[in-house]
Symmetry: D2
Subunit: 249 residues, 4 copies
């Protein structure tokens, strides 16, 4: 849905680029098993990356590079190498601030390289609550706090499962996930809720009430057959208006 | 206090060795700044380690080696190298199980190398709640769960500050810290509470009630002038009886 | 499933009684709307109670009374009346210890009234994490801690939903629920997992690993057509052995 | 400090009134033991209330009434009485929404009675994390979410203890307390930090970074000899500017 969100912004005349941050420890996906992880996508500059980046390029008017995909393994590897070469002057090297600073530097690098672009979408893979995504989430929390122009927006992707038995959409998993994000200091502005059934007005109100967002910021992401339909669905949910409003574009 | 605990066990005729696990990302303390981190201690096999290991050797009848000190940096470095050499067969490498398995392997290695020893004391540095100690805590949680003989014991070191103003010992920091440990699945069996003032019976009962341990398992660790006094203090608090009881020795 | 658990214990020759604790604030279910809450069950002593108590009586060789059903409303009402009559001697009245003591007194009362009985099953309604069940959970936590004979056992009823889409049983809701219980100081000994599909050995191991219980203590509670089948299902899962073992009966 | 905050707003030409919400279960403080709870203050309309209300009246140009002090006991008593009289039409009565609605109604009542007043300061007693304050916090969370004009402001009072030993101000208790508030859905806008020592710029930045507020919103509340000095101290910390800014007055 990051790709669809980007495509949607392009329809509003905005330019967009991507940074995919993967919390796994593999240094590059070229060595990953295609059966477990899907195929590898080769970018223009020869970097082998996650297949998701292929989706982005297909969807968007942007050329992605080696810089557009960062893994936890790359980050730790860079920090460990720098430490061994004396780059930290013998300091005790810690997740906060050393690992988080490395993550922030990668995001800043993209913003600089694509400085003409209106929006950088940073997608953080994994699940809130997993240990490996914590340094990434702490890094973006700090960036938003330090961003004095308030040009940052947090979108959180959640699940709203449907129980055949009771014929109900269950909002608890979304509530748990938002609560876990809030505990680590991030308040999502928009929730994109994957669901096998349309979210009723009632369900959106309930999610909004318990997750501290207005109901209009609860966007449904129905399981669609064709991934291209998703951008249209988001448009019908007025997601583009929300994005432009929050980012003051 | 890990060293004092070990010394205390030796007075009961038990043999003991140590494993110090440091959550910082430096690969070896030989490159660390002595002004920030204290001096470096050189072990018999030439490994430069944390000064704490010097304390252990002085206190205990054990010879420590390169294996006796593990840092987060070493663990991540080993996992990243193994992944790059294809050691994980292209799998997605994650904190759980890959990093935690590496930590468990280091503990098992010590247990094997010192197989004649009655007790291995594994000290995990850092503060509960910090991101960097999470993989270590998850690893020991799993080890205890998998230990079918229930020969594992968790000791948690906490603070009980004293407020001059109100003349009170504050138990909240200890409660918070134990709650944070419990959330990640570890129930401490014994609490060693650092405090500038003796813990009254009342304070021990209160800590026990809120932290789910019997009051006898709340052990005071008064700020002592001479670090050698601490083992005696622990003995007066009957810590050795508790240890022998819990470990069925 | 509390009733089935009780029936199972009776087949082992044990005698059992029940205490149902409902966190809702209604003082007695006689005034509750039957369409919303199901019918009311009238006990031998004329008390109108929750229909669940009817299930218990039908299942078990026990006569339940007015004392066998307690609501949050009754507890608060009793505490407020006592305070107004000076029963707390002007003290500041708080949830801990005043409300929790009232709850503990109700449990003790049952234990006394049915002193010949081997086991008192205390069922606490509601969902872990809701505000209204917190005083009940704190009360039973304290009782278990104060029970020097370790004759207390915590059974936690959780959900393991099945997703048609992916064809998977989801263990996250169970993990969240157990984590929430642990945060408030209760470690469940046995998990009874409601599920529309049988729990495989693999799923039980995963739940056990993340919830700190042995896999044998993960008991499946398949949606059965006939509620009487549940006791048989529990027997096949060896729940009765576990109960007798934990309670040392 | 609620009284000082109010006094400060009056110096800016604003009119202010108070609502003190006490989570204890006593229905009225007239029956409370003066040795444990301090003296009772009698308001103009004859209501006996908490002594804090005396402070407010002395500080502020406002006449407080019976409505200006609400306890948990009053709230539960009202809900239980209404339920028994059929006021909920037999519905299951719960903390959310029934108790929280009662709390919201009390706040709305004050806002209506003092409709000419610019600001209503609602002070919630007790400690974040205690069970008894949860319904009050949930009620104000909902009110802020429902307030479409964003005229609500959350001020959180925390402790920053000073350790004689290390000569340091400790920010952890403040971090824990803010984290606990955030978990239940409230993001404080301003932190008033009680401390025996002045907060340095460095400490304010650290608190701000970890608690998601700008450093200017971290206000020191030094232990002052004379309670009247506090309003002056707050003014020097520019608290009045912040208040006027956040409330758009």
């Amino acid at each position: 849905s990051a790709a669809s969100t980007g495509a949607l912004m392009e329809t509003r005349g905005l330019t967009v680029t991507f940074l995919k941050m993967d919390p796994y420890i593999n240094v590059d996906p070229g060595t990953m098993n295609p059966f477990q992880h899907g195929e590898v996508f080769v970018l223009d500059d020869g970097a082998e990356t996650d297949l998701d980046l292929g989706h982005y390029e297909r969807f968007l008017d942007t050329n992605l590079t080696r810089l557009s995909n960062v893994t936890s393994g790359q980050i730790y590897d860079a920090v460990i190498q720098r430490e061994r070469q004396g780059g930290y002057l013998g300091a005790t090297v810690q997740v906060i601030p050393h690992v988080t600073n490395e993550i922030k530097a990668r995001i800043a690098q993209i913003a600089e390289k694509y400085e003409d672009v209106d929006v950088v979408i940073v997608e953080i893979g994994g699940t809130v609550g997993d240990i490996e995504s914590l340094p990434f989430l702490e890094a973006i929390r700090q960036m938003a706090l330090e961003d004095e122009d308030h040009n940052t927006l947090f979108i959180h992707l959640t699940l709203v499962p449907y129980f055949e038995g009771s014929g109900e959409l269950k909002t608890k998993p979304t509530q748990h996930s938002v609560k876990a994000l809030r505990e680590i200091g991030i308040d999502p502005d928009i929730l994109i809720c994957r669901s096998p059934q349309p979210l009723t007005r009632e369900v959106k109100k309930k999610i909004g009430l318990f997750c501290n967002v207005p109901p209009e910021a609860v966007i449904q992401d129905l399981d669609v057959e064709n991934i291209y339909e998703l951008a249209i669905q988001f448009h019908l949910e007025l997601l583009d208006n929300l994005l432009v409003h929050y980012l003051k574009l």
